[in-house]
Amino acid sequence: MKIDDIKLWLDERLSISTLAAMAQKKEVPLHRHSIWYYFGGMTLFLFTVQVVTGILLLLYYRPSSENAFESVQFIMTEVKFGWLIRSIHSWSANLMIATLFIHMFSVFFLRSYYPPREITWLSGVFLLFIVICFGFSGYLLPWNKLAFFATKVGTEIAGVVPVVGRPIMRFLRGGDDVTGATLTRFFGFHVAVLPATATVFIAVHVLLVQLHGMHVPEKYEHTHRKMKFFPNFILRDLIGWILAIGVLAILAALFPWELGEKADAFTPAPAGIKPEWYFLFMFQTLKLIPAKVLGLDGEVLGIMAFNVVAMLLFIVPFVDRSPENRRRRLILNVAGVLALVYIVGMTIYGYVT
């Protein structure tokens, strides 16, 4: 049987030639801000790295308070290249969150959520929260001291929310305290619930991008310079991904992810405990907020404010629908810049204090 025969056989069944023709037709607009198009693909690539390294870690990881720490220690010291896989998994998770933030802010400032791309934005916001949940649940899995207390503080913060807070906290912890039960359910969220949900949202997100094509900012609508998606854009993407592997290799080899000490509920929390960098701006805000603001509990107020901002993200494409309303556009731009400055400023402040 010749190769052409195999191709024909497959084409009859999978319509590869139709898909190839579609891919051939697909084009990427070229303008001053085309660079931002790469960050969505980069985030997706890093997610793939997470899936692959995550599956490899699953071969040795044991999700119980008795074994979790020891199994990660085993991965880091005894398993051949285990240190590399775990370090890449941790570094890639952080880089993914960074590229995701860049992607979100670029989409926000370039107004790529204008109709008909509202659902693409919504699925993206869902993915942002899913990724943050990935980060929060994955952080506990090595069952070390820092992770234990960070989870304790994190879930405690969730518990402060009026009415629903306590039940949410109990659900997350699997009881009143952070215990082995918390670890087991965080593991469940991290390797089953969140990946399944993420896959659905990624599929919707990517399909919608294919359906609507890349958004061109109105300023550049008149320029008709374009680049073929296949192979030009995808090969450029590929260069980025190869370089990302290089960056991950450097980070993993020179700065292997720390394991720390095994969690012990009976020891006091380590001094100066801080959450992961992507939670730091919120943590710092809660630290700075006074205990009472206008007679209300400061912490509750802060958490509610973050919830409101998170909810606002969902309604962005329904509030700002076209470039015509200049004033609304200006307000959103100012809000976006302020949010960015606030996040960066508070994160730096959190690190230096």
Binding site: Q73, M76, T77, W83, K228, P231, N232, L235, R236, L238, I239, I242, L243, I245, G246, A249, I250, A253, L254, F255, P256, E258, L259, G260, E261
Partner: protein, 450 residues
């Protein structure tokens, strides 16, 4: 809705009719029953008033108003006294009548007024209750009742019996009128206050003149490892004066019994010493067992410099070059030094590997085996047996050696990783360059086609 309306109607009706309801209830009550009820209430009220009146103490009332502080202080201090908290009053110790309104009535000898006890009588004065097991059980079933008896076995007690009045009695340590529970941090006999309390007399050269004992114990104790544990680490189990000398039976332990005193806490060291060749030698030379090397009140933190044959080591105070003990001391010290050196070397390399990001928590944990062996060896020197010390030093050296090997391995792994990274980066950059060239090639072909 109908149910709510019905309840509302019933409530309104009750509001109108409740006086009539009450009258009906009262009518039903038998007049005799009502009378009996009022009588009982009257008796209870009278008894309550009488009891309240008994609580009144004319001693406190008068004394607290007196201008002479010597006379008013007891009344004021008594508020915080444990006896007061347990419901006792002035007359329970001093006798008299606290209900009398005149001084003469209150201090009436016919009513058992005893007044201020003489120093010689104080132990018996307190012992009246504190030596009475039946009485004390009512207040605290676990409290000892042999304090008075024990007191007379102490040097204080013996001297008092002989008529010396400048010795400590109950009130010298426990204070008077403001006596607190020994568990109360403000008590003068709370662990961290004991040394201060004893020092009031024992550190005073003037006061101690004539007793023929030194007065530097407190100053020395303050420099000791025990005082550091008690005052700096706030370790209330650390010994203070009474833990070695006893409290009510306070006596300096004799040469023969000092090891038993130290051995209360340092049991293993005491046990090893008993089996060592030093035991017979110390007995023969009439040397006090522990304090010959460690001293008594100024016990310093023991260090390795105390053992060995070098200048400053304690062993050479008795042993000289060539004798068996001299050789053993030198050997024990050199093995301990060897173990310390090995642990330091391993710790250093493991820390270096850790700083370089290598995961070495397991070998670091296992190195604890070597530090445990070192601690054990330092205890075993009390056996004066090189063989006993060697039994723990050898495995300790092995554990430390393993730690060092693990550190070397981690550093080797680190350089292997760096080399691997360099090779990978060359390959990665080469691949990225190839793809870039391919893009350039495709794009120039596309431009030519256009």
């Amino acid at each position: 809705m109908t149910r709510l309306r019905k309840m509302d109607r019933q409530a309104k009706q009750f509001q109108k009719e409740w006086p009539a309801h009450l009258a009906r209830v009262l009518q039903r009550l038998n007049a005799r029953v009502t009378l009996r009820l009022f009588l009982r209430l009257g008796i209870i009220l009278t008894l309550f008033t009488l009891v309240s009146a008994q609580k009144k103490s004319s001693c406190i009332e008068c004394h607290s108003k007196l201008e002479d502080t010597r006379l008013s202080a007891p009344a004021k201090l008594f508020d915080n006294d444990i006896h007061h908290a347990r419901g006792l009053s002035c007359n329970d110790c001093h006798g008299g009548d606290p209900n009398a309104d005149t001084r003469e009535g209150a201090k009436d000898p016919r009513k058992g007024y005893l007044g201020k006890p003489k120093t010689l009588d104080i132990p018996a004065y307190c012992g009246k209750c504190h030596s009475d097991a039946t009485l004390m059980k009512k207040f605290n079933p676990s409290l000892r009742v042999d304090q008075e008896k024990e007191y007379y076995t102490s040097n204080h007690g013996k001297l008092l019996k002989a008529g010396e009045q400048r010795v400590a009695t109950c009130i010298s340590c426990h204070s008077v009128h403001g006596i607190r529970s020994p568990k109360d941090p403000l008590s003068s006999v709370y662990p961290s206050n004991v040394a201060e309390t004893c020092s009031k007399c024992h550190a005073s050269a003037d006061y101690m003149r004539g007793f023929g004992i030194p007065n530097d114990q407190y100053a020395k104790y303050k420099t000791s490892v025990h005082a550091k544990a008690l005052y700096e680490k706030q370790d209330l189990s650390a010994p203070t004066c009474n833990d070695c000398h006893g409290n009510h039976g306070a006596t300096p332990p004799g040469i023969a019994s000092v090891a038993n005193v130290c051995g209360q806490c340092h049991a293993r060291q005491a046990e090893l010493f008993q089996t060592s060749p030093h035991k017979a030698a110390f007995d023969q030379k009439q040397l006090a067992e522990c304090l010959t090397c460690h001293s008594n009140h100024a016990i310093a933190k023991p260090g390795d410099q105390m053992i060995g044959t070098q200048q400053g080591a304690l062993c050479i105070n008795c042993h000289s070059s060539g004798d068996k003990g001299f050789v053993a001391a030198g050997l024990m010290r050199s093995r301990i030094d060897e173990l310390i050196g090995s642990i330091d070397k391993s710790t250093e390399i493991l820390n270096r590997a850790e700083r370089a990001g290598m995961e070495v928590s397991k070998p670091k944990f296992e190195l604890k085996g070597a530090t445990d062996a070192l601690t054990h060896a330092r205890v075993l020197i009390h056996s004066s047996s090189t063989a006993e010390v060697e039994k723990v030093v050898a495995p300790g050296l092995e554990a430390a050696g393993k730690g060092y090997q693990a550190g070397l391995g981690a550093l080797a792994e680190r350089s292997y990783r760096r080399k691997g990274l360099a090779v990978s980066l060359v390959f990665i950059l080469f691949l990225a360059g190839l793809v870039y060239l391919k893009v350039r090639q495709i794009e120039s072909r596309q431009a030519a086609e256009k």
